[in-house]
Each structure stands twice: as C-alpha cells, then as structure tokens.
Assembly symmetry: C2
Homo-oligomer: 739 residues x 2
C-alpha cells in the first residue's frame, strides 16, 4: 500500500512536472516570434489614417505662400535659395537624409539687353508694329525683379523675315490640310499657330518639317478663356497681354540635350550645340492675343474652315501674307535668346525602409517655375512639402515604412524635364532594380471640379481604395468620400461604373521613370469639368498671372482641394511603401491591355483592303493579351494562399509585382526614339502630351495616311504588332511561378 502510494505520488509528481515543463515549452514556443519586425497591415492602416489626418489646409497654404513670393526660374539664384530652404525644412521635418544634387545642363534665357519681339515691317524695313516686350505686371508684384518676359526656350537666335501663314493649332493634320486642301505652302514663310491641343514642341517640329523659317504661337481666347470669368486679377482668365512661356524642344525623353543617356555631371562629355538633341532650328516666339490680333487682322488668302477659327474678332485668313492694302508689309522676328550650360539643383530626401531599404517609392515634383509658379508647380510642391511634414510626424511617433521613401524637388522641369531625367540617368541601375513606384507631383490643381488621376493600370485598384478613405473637399459634401464625389462628377461610362482614370502621357517629370525605365507611375490633381470647360490646361498657364492669389482667391480658397490632392499623392506612396504585399493589381493591367488591343486593331481596320493586301493581322497581339490575362488571373489566385509570414516568399511575389511594369520596356526603344521604351504607353510622335496605348503601332498606322510607299508602311505596322505581341507575352512570363 505504502509502496503503491509512493509510486502513485511519484507518477503524479512526474506528470505535474512534465506538464509544467510542457506548458512552459508551449508558451515559449509560441511566444517567440517566427521573425522579428513583421509589422502587419493593421498597424500600417492605423498609421495611414494618422498620416492623412495630419495634413492641414492651412499648412499647405503657408507652404504655397512661402515659395511663390519671388520668381524662381531654373538656373537662377532664387531657385537655389528655395532649394536650400526646402532642404533645411525637410531635415527639420525629420527625414533621414536630404541632399542637394546638382547637374550642369543646357538651359535657354532671353538676352537681357536685347529683347525678343516680333515686328510688322514696311517695304523699307521699318517697324510699323512691335509686339510687347513683357506682360503687364500683376498688382502687388510691381517691385519684383527678375520676371522673365514670355519667350520660347531654346529658340535659336535669328531675325527671319517673311509672309505669315496661319496653320490653326500647328498639328500634323493642320499642315496636311494646309498643303493638300488649301494648297498653301509654308516653305520659306513664318508660321503662326494658336496654342493648345498638342505640345508646343510638336508644333515647332511640324513647322520645321513644312519648311517654315520661323514660328509664332499665340493664346487664343477660344482656348484660354473660360466663359463668364473675368481676366486676372478679377478672375482667373488670361488677360490679353498675357502669354504662355515654354520650351520648344523635341527631346523625346533625352533630358539635357547635350548629354542624352548620361547624367550631366562635370566630367560628362557634351555634344556640340549642333548635335544637341531636339533643339529647334528656326526662331520661335509666343505672344498674347492682344498682339495676335495685330498680326492676324490684316492677313489675306483663303478663309479657313470653322474649326480653324478662334474667338478673336478677325477672319483667321490663312495667308500667305497680308491683304492687298498691306501687301508690302512683312513680318520680322527678332530673337536673341541664348542657350547656356547652367547648374541646376534637385533636392532629394529619404526615409530609409525598415525591412526593405532597397525598395524605393518615389514622390517627385518640380520646383522651378517660369515666374512665380502659383499653380505650376508650387501648388504641387506645397503638397509634397506637407506630405514630408506629415511623414516626419509619423517618424517621430516611431513609425518607419517597410520600404524606402524618396522625396524629390526637381529642377528645370520647364526646360524639358531635365532635373528629373538627369537624376534618373544618374541612378538608372538602382532604379531599374529597386524602384517600386513613382508618384508625380506637378501642379496639384488646374480646375475646381473634381479629381483627375492618370496612372498605370496596376495602380487603379489602389487609387479607388484610397480615395474611399479620403473626404471630399467640396462644400456641401461633408461625410462624402472623395471617391463618391469624383465618381458622381466623372464616371468612366464607356468602360465601367467607376471614376475615370486616364493613361499617362508625358509633359511632366514622371516621364523618365515611367516611359524610359518602366517604373509603375501615377499622378493626381484637381481638375476642371472637361465636358463644359473646353480651354486647354488652365487660362493663366505659364504666364506671370500664375500667382499665389490665383489659387487663394479662385481655385481653392479653403485649400481643401489641395489637401485632398496631398492625401491622394501621400496615401499612394504610403501604401506602396508600407504594405506587406505591394498594392498593385495585375488584373487591371490585363483588362487595360484588352481594351487597348481592341482599340488599336479598330484603328488598323479603318483600312480593310490594305490590311488584306499586305496581310496585316492583329491576331498575335490578341493572343498575347489572352495569355497575359490568364497569367494575371492565376497570379492573383495564388496570392490567396501566399504565406505572408515567409519573408522570402513575400519578397519573390513582390518582386514579380514590381518588375511587371519593367517587362513592358523594350531596350531598343520605339522607332527613332531610344528613350521612349515603354511598349504599352508612350506619347505618339505627334503630340507629347497625349499618351497613346501601343504607341509603336499607333505611330506606324498614323504614317499610313501620308505614306508614299504603302508596302513599306504596312511592313512597319506588322513589325510593331509583332514587337507588341512579344512584349505582352514576355510580361505574362514574369507572372508565372518562378522556377
């Protein structure tokens, strides 16, 4: 009995000891984290809310006020001062590092002692009319110096004389119409075109191709005047004395014209000016509509079709030259601008990623402005500034994003996206291997109606999800999300019941990142109502009237619209940098490719007989898109079972997501445009602003209409279809399980 009792006790104790040990073991086992530092998305979500809520309209107002007091053209002392101030403040806000990155690039300035202008001269060569040398200075800025007068940057010097020919917007089709239908030849003449519809550099290229010896561009009220709105300062319309500055390069993504493909450092070899990329060979000058009336009113020649007529009270005759009464008068351009290699400064700030410091999410926008930059670009720069401030606040609370965040204040965007392109060239290897996404931050507002987003298809879902978490800035829409407000105003009717998102074209700093390097990219801003407001961009665009006041008085008095834009841009980079799984939606890319293939094939099928004769087929493209669609669907299905706790598995899938956009890059570039390498998205050769899908095919089809050798032109189309099909197939391969 006693023995048995002892035994029982012994067993009992052993069991208890074992149980306690086991319990401890189990607790220990499960208490130990499988991996350190795997913050989950719930925590990240909480920080996102704080990040968005921290952004304040009054702060944005203050930033905008601060950086629009003085003109800060690229290459000037004032623009360096603002750069230094931004650097200082970003450091104070708490970024890990902020550096100033200089390049020496080709810029262009008017000659200070010999102004640019255009004259009407009589037969003795005497000037009977001269265009104005400057815009009337807006009130409050009378004492400001260093306001650069309106000019076309990179115009060569020259004083060509000749008869004027009016060519509407100066588009390829306008010149066709001029030469074919109206039988007017622009060769040896000075062309005058209105601003709008396409990028001004394309107008200049077209004028050169047509043999013109000079080109004048003017802002017609039809294109730069909103109905019922007063001219600045009483409203936001362009006064008659205002004119649009702008560069007239055809860089096609080259950045600094003298160092295509390489960063413009001190030791970098520079091409001669004659060999520089995209420099126009004929003088160019911009004028306002007061001056334009004087040049146009006496023109002779045919009366144009109605769609060539602007809103001025003149007949818009084509020319060449003036009517009989003024036959002996000619035009003379007087252009004395200088190209000069000039130092520019980007400001680059960083927050180092906690877990994946070698993955980059970039928010970049330019700082240089033609004059004050009230809208372009400081409405965007103010938003970046507020984003950095808010991110700094989070950092001080212990937050650190999973991936590295990079903030950029670019210089010399107005001179051909130079600051952003040179930095992209400088860092191309790193960006190609490490960049997850680039969000652009140019002008944050160009209208008072609703949100506008242009982005790569894989960002669509993130944009929708995010805008549902942001409040509408519109009065009377309390409690309404930005998504709802946007959806109500701009439904994507043709395609789907969701707010419209457009393709990225070019014309801002995302270009080198998206179109050359293949980094997923997007931009967001507040915009006008495109259905009712027909003017190009916004009326005071690139004029001296782009002031702080034009925003404060008219575009966004409460600064809530800018705050909403800040929340969109900031929210995008936050989610891209901090989500465990990259918030990129491959299915959206598949959908988009399907639509683009349909639409480019439709364009081809406008020539059914020739398609037949030259045996052109889009089948290989459709089959590639089908292949991609299946791969995308399977990819997202596999994501359902992904073990996000396994850092390698997660990284592998994220790499697939990151590199998808890269897969659309053709290292050989589009025909004749080595720096436009994105096979799905690039501007067409005929308008830098408009993003075309399958631009290689688009351009080849565009050329069919004007082709002398149909066989050769259709061979070009077939080759481009083949390249597109291959590229889509190759992209699909990147989505299959790696092995």
């Amino acid at each position: 009995m006693r023995k048995e009792g002892r035994l029982t006790r012994w067993i009992g104790w052993t069991v208890i000891v074992a149980a306690l040990l086991l319990l401890g073991f189990i607790i220990g086992w499960f208490a130990k984290p499988t991996r350190p530092n795997t913050p989950n998305d719930t925590v990240s979500g909480k920080y996102l809310r704080e990040f968005l809520d921290e952004m304040r309209p009054e702060q944005i107002r203050e930033h905008l006020r601060k950086f629009t007091r003085l003109p800060h053209l690229a290459g000037t002392e004032q623009n360096l001062k603002y750069a230094e101030q931004i650097m200082k403040e970003w450091k104070e806000y708490g970024l890990d590092s902020v550096e100033m990155v200089p390049y020496d690039v080709l810029l262009s300035y008017p000659n200070k002692t010999q102004p640019n202008y255009i004259s009407i001269i009589d037969q003795l060569g005497s000037e009977v009319f001269n265009t104005s040398l400057a815009e009337p200075v807006p009130e409050g800025y009378e004492d400001v110096s260093n306001i650069v007068p309106p000019y076309s940057a990179f115009s060569p010097k020259g004083q060509p004389e000749g008869d004027l020919v009016y060519v509407n917007y100066g588009r390829t089709e306008d010149f066709f119409q001029l030469e074919r239908d109206m039988r007017v030849n622009a060769t040896g003449r000075i062309v005058i075109v209105r601003y709008g519809k396409i990028f001004r550099g394309n107008k200049v290229k077209n004028a050169m191709l047509a043999g013109a010896k000079g080109i004048i561009m003017f802002s017609d009220p039809a294109d730069y005047w909103a109905a019922g709105v007063l001219p600045y300062p009483d409203g936001w319309n362009l006064p008659g004395g205002g004119a649009q500055r702008g560069n007239v390069l055809n860089l096609n993504g080259a950045g600094d014209p003298l160092t295509p493909g390489y960063p413009a450092k001190e030791y970098t070899y520079r091409l001669s000016l004659e060999d520089g990329v995209g420099l126009p060979k004929i003088p160019v000058h911009p004028i306002g509509f007061h001056d334009a009336i004087n040049l146009l009113k006496n023109m002779g020649g045919p009366i144009p079709p109605n769609n060539w007529k602007g809103a001025l009270n003149i007949s818009y005759r084509i020319g060449p030259g003036f009517t009989d009464d003024f036959k002996s008068q000619k035009l003379r351009m007087n252009i004395h601008s200088n190209n000069q290699i000039t130092r520019i400064y980007n400001v680059i700030g960083r927050i180092r990623g906690a877990l994946e410091p070698d993955r980059y999410v970039i928010l970049g926008g330019h700082r240089d402005a033609w004059v004050f930059g009230g809208i372009d670009p400081m409405s965007g720069a103010a938003v970046v500034h507020e984003t950095v401030r808010s991110a700094g606040r989070l950092i001080s609370k212990g937050w650190r994003p999973r991936r590295t965040l990079i903030f950029a204040s670019w210089d010399a965007e107005e001179f051909g996206l130079q600051g952003s392109t040179e930095w992209a060239e400088d860092n191309a290897k790193l960006l190609q291997e490490r960049a997850v996404a680039y969000i652009n931050a140019d002008s944050a507002i160009e209208g008072m109606y609703t949100l506008r987003v242009d982005c790569t298809p894989s960002l669509h879902t993130l944009v929708y999800d995010l805008t549902k978490q942001i409040a509408s800035p519109e009065e009377g829409e309390e409690g309404v999300s930005l998504y709802e407000s946007w959806h109500k105003r701009d439904n994507w009717t043709d395609n789907r019941d969701a707010p419209r998102i457009s393709k990225l074209g070019s014309g801002s700093d995302f270009e080198a990142y998206f179109i050359r390097l293949g980094i997923a990219a997007g931009r967001a801003r507040y915009t006008k109502n495109k259905k009712t407001e027909r003017y190009s961009s916004y009326p005071v665009y690139h004029s001296v009237y782009e002031t702080f006041e034009v925003v404060e008085k008219f575009y966004d008095p409460s600064f809530k619209r800018l705050r909403a834009v800040a929340q969109v841009r900031g929210g995008l980079i936050f989610q891209l940098a901090d989500s465990q799984l990259l918030p990129l939606d491959v299915n959206q890319y598949a959908d988009a490719l399907g639509k683009y293939a349909q639409s480019i094939a439709q364009l081809g099928h406008r020539h059914p007989e020739e398609m037949n004769t030259y045996r052109v087929s889009f089948d290989s493209l459709f089959s590639a898109v089908e292949n991609f669609t299946v791969a995308a669907r399977d990819f997202h299905e596999r994501l359902q079972t992904l073990n996000k706790e396994d850092p390698l598995q997660l990284r592998i899938v994220n790499d697939q997501l990151m590199y998808l956009e890269r897969a659309f890059i053709d290292p050989l570039g589009l025909p004749g445009r080595p720096f436009y390498r994105h096979v799905i998205f690039a501007p067409s050769s005929h308008n830098k602003y408009a993003g075309e899908s399958f631009p290689g095919i688009y351009d080849a089809l565009f050329d069919i209409q004007n082709s002398a050798d149909k066989q050769k032109s259709w061979e070009d189309v077939k080759r481009q279809i083949s390249i597109a099909a291959f590229t889509v197939h190759a992209a699909a391969m990147t989505l299959t399980p790696p092995s």
Copy 2:
C-alpha cells in the same frame, strides 16, 4: 510555526512550479528555429563533395561516344534526334522539368546538287584547276551520309571572277599594310587570306570594306599544324585535304539575322534578307592547304614581309593575279549555298530552387556540330550531360539547391550563337531580373596541357577556391590539386602569383548572357601550352576529323581531363546555386578595373601630342575606378557583420552581388553595336574572339590611326572615356548600403 511552514512550503512549491515553467519556456523558445529551411554552408559543402565525386570519366566517355556517331548539323533531323535523346535522359536523371524550345531562324546550307568550289580558269573560261568538293572521309565513317562539305555559312550565291590578292590573315592592319605599304588595291579582286588570329567574319568584313568581290580562306600549316604531330588519323594534325567550316556573319550579338532583338517565334516579324543583320555581301569559301598551294603557287606581285609567310613551300606573293607565265589565268568562285529559315531546338532542363526559385544559375552549351563534333561541341555537351547526371543523383538523396539550376543544350551555335541568343531574347526580362550567373559549356578540351578559364573578375576567387578542391587529371600528379597543377603550368606572372585567368571574348554562347544582358559569366576547358604551341584553336577545328577518336586516342584517353573540366563547370554552378551568400568577389572586379584603366590609358598615351592638343584625359576614369575600389572594399567589410540568418538582409546583399555585373551594361550599347552593351568587356570591332576591356575606348583609339578627321576621332575617344567613367561610378553606387 505551522502556518509559517505552510507558507514556506507554498513559496517553495510556487518557486518550483515557476522554475519548471520557466525552464520549459526557455527550452521552447530556443528549440524553435528562427526560420525554417535555412540550410547552412556546411551541409552544402558535403553535397558539393558528393556532387564532384559522382562524376566519372567512363560516363563522360560514354556520353561522348553516344552523341558523336552521326553528323548533327543545326536544323537537321539528326540534331533533333539528339535533342530528344538528351531531353529523355535528363528527365531520367531526375531534373524537375525538361522542355524543347524551338525557334525558326535563318541558317545556310550548300546546295546538294550544285557544289561549291573554286576554279582557276584560262582565258576561254575553262576550268584548269578545281578545288576539292569534300574532305577525305576519316576511316570508320565511310558509310556515313549527311557530312556537309566545307563551306562558309551565309556566303551569298555568286560566281565572281578576278585576280587573286593575298592579304595574310585579313586583319584590319593587314589591309592597311596592303594598301599603304605595298600599294596593292583589293578593289574588284578576289582576296585570299589564311585562317587564324581573328574571327573569320571579321576577315570577310575587311575584304568587303576593301572592295573585294570574293574571299577565300585557307588553313595554313603554320597556323594549324603542331610540330612533330602526324595528321589525323595517326595524330591530331589537320590533313592537307581538311578545311575549316564556319559562319562568316558579323552579327555583333544579334542572334538570328532576321529578328534582331526579338525571339524568332512563329509570329515574329522578319526582316527581308537584304536588311538582315551581318550577312556578307560577297561570296566566301574555305579550303585546305592542298588546294591553297595550287591557288597560291603561281601568284605574282611583290614578295611579302616574313610575317606574312606561312609554312607552305611557296613564296606567298601578294598578287594581284598570277606571274607572267600564267597571266591570262583568273580565279572563279562558284558558290551556290542557300540561306533558309529553319527550325532549331534548344533543350532546357531545370532543378527548382528550394528557397529562391526566382534566382537562376545557368549551365549552357551547344549541341549542333559542323559534322561529328568530337571536340566542338560534344566534349562540352558530354560534360554537361555528366553534370546533369550527377545533380540528379544528389536530388535522389534529398538535396535541392537554394536557387534554381538551368541546364541548356543550345542549337545553331555554329550559325552565329543563334539558339542561345534567341532564348536569351525570349527570356530577357526574367534573366535580367533573376539570373545570378551563366557558365558556358562549349568544347571542353582544345589541348593536353592544363586548365584554361576565362571569366568575369568577380568569379576569380570562386574559381581558385574550387580548383583547390579538384584533383589534377595529369598522370603522375596524384594528390596534386587542379589548382596546383594549373598554377605550375600557367602562372599569371605579370599580374600575380596565381594561375592565369583571362577575359571573356566572344565566339560562344555566353555572349548574349554576358555582353548583352550583363550576367556574370565564365567558361573553363582544358588547353594547350600557349608558350610553345602557336597554332590557332586546335588543328582539326571544324573539320570532318573532329571525331570521337581524336579525343579518345589523343586528347584525353583516360577522360580524366574532361572529368576535371566537368568538375570545374559543375562545381561553379553548384556553389553559385547553393551558397547562402553568393560567392562573388567584388574586390576582384575593382582590381581588374584598375588594371584595365591603366592599360587603356597607356594605349591613349601612345599619342601624347594629340592627347594634349585635343585635351584628352583619363582622369575621370581613374577617379571612377578609385571610387569603385573603395565601395568594393567597404562592401566586403560589411559582409563580415552580415546576419546571414535574416533572409531579407541576406537577399538584399545577394541582390547587390547579382546586379553588380548588370551595372556595367549601357542600354544604348556600344557605338553602332546595340547588342554589345557591356562597357567593361566586349570584343573589339576588329576581332570578335578577343575580349577587350573598355571596348568603346579601345575601338575609338584604334580608329585614331586611320582617321582623316583627328578632331572628330579624339572627340569619340573623350565621349567613350566619359561613358566608361559614368558606368564605373554607377556600378560603385550599387555597392553602397541601400537606402
């Protein structure tokens, strides 16, 4: 007392319970692995030993025997049969997957009914001498059909007639000498040159540039005859009736001439033959030295310098044409070969990586042969086969490499590296993002003396470490390592006390991987004693006498040399695929860059006055190399403290190592050669075989000597120095800590 006792007891028990729980907790905490599946390098090392030891000479012998019985030219049925057999056997050996990947590329074959030959014709046009239509068939192969006669693949059809001009090796400098010193013009004539020194395609290009209407190439005993060795079958020298086949393209890395930049799939757009890349425009034909004597013996014109004389018992006069007695005789080439689009087949086998399936290590070599391919390529293919067999054995023991292993049997290498290049084009996106290294497996033996390794500098250390673990195959060297044996025979005297390792040139399938895509690459084979054996490649190269027997009887009767090569190639891919930390040595790259910069600068300083006049400096390059050297040193220092247990930290560092080679790629390519993109290594424009360091600078300097516009030529040099400096700086950036 009682109460106190109870309390004490209570405390005692509590302490015991807590201690037990704590003990359990501690055991549980530490028993749990931080991460699953982190095999360490000790385990990997044990498997490496087994992997190397499993490779057997008799197995290699059997593989070689099996795949050299019948001619297997690219595009023929027999070569497809071998592909199917390889596919089947690789599956049996245990690869995870093996697939056949076809492409439709441009190949070239003699016309079966109209043979190619060269005639001496009299003034009536009658043939007084004709070159042989085929090589005498080696004994034992008399009944074999489908032996293609010697021809120059891709020669256009044609029957040019004219006088002969002898131009030594047909190098750029030979043509200079011909035209400048000897005042002989090749225009309108048929050029005859001896094989050797440079790639035959470069000879053809030079003849075209000189205006020749045809070119004949012959194998001179001076270049294809080893002293004291009998001709095949009694020895391994080239019989007088033997001739060297080979393609005469100037592809510069384009792959299929009709689909440059894209894989030659069914849907792929093809250029017309006229627009095809690198196709020669003049007829070309190869002959042996028996025929050559007959063409050369009666030649007239000047007696050449001694270094133009071969080993035939003739005077090697330059021409043009024959001596007085034979003045009326001319030469006629009769070439009837056809270019035709033909299906080729790569075999691709894989072992999926256990932890990083999205990282690729590739072992690739070609399978197609001009005839039997006893040496080229089957000595290499047999080695790959044995490597796959050995890897399969490890798999069956439960091993699986950390990264994915890819084995490739390429087709149509002999027609311009087409199989490997098309696959690289097809998979470019994946390879660019995922490929760690490419090891080439062409001919495994070209001599009986010692090891030869050509590879990228970052592989040097791995090659040395590995060869110390492999036994010397030489008789009487039992217990001596391959490293020691190699070191003793070929010390790298100029540079360092270690076995010589050379730069990669081109001429085999690594080209697209290394020079176009920037994937770390290397090759290894057994070679001759370069100090005493002066002949080019090996005597029977590309002749019908490259049989199984030439290897078995002369080159490697024990098959131990081939085993040693198998162990080097196999060991390299094993270590690259299975090491936790990639075995790439960045410091070695820094050292190499330093030497290359010195040596290219010396080349420039041969023109001290012009360097001064045109203000040419290599300073930016030296400063970039210095920068890289510091970055490399710091990188390796940081590796000392790397936490290899953290999978993300490890992956980040491995990515830096992997992408270093990629950083030397210039997406714009070298001038005029868009597919030669490696700024540090590429063949010069004057010889595809010879790898030059800083080839852009090298070519620009080469052109100086013959330049009419010195200013322009030196501007080219300056531009190339700037590009090289930028590229080295950019590569250095990839080594700094990411953020």
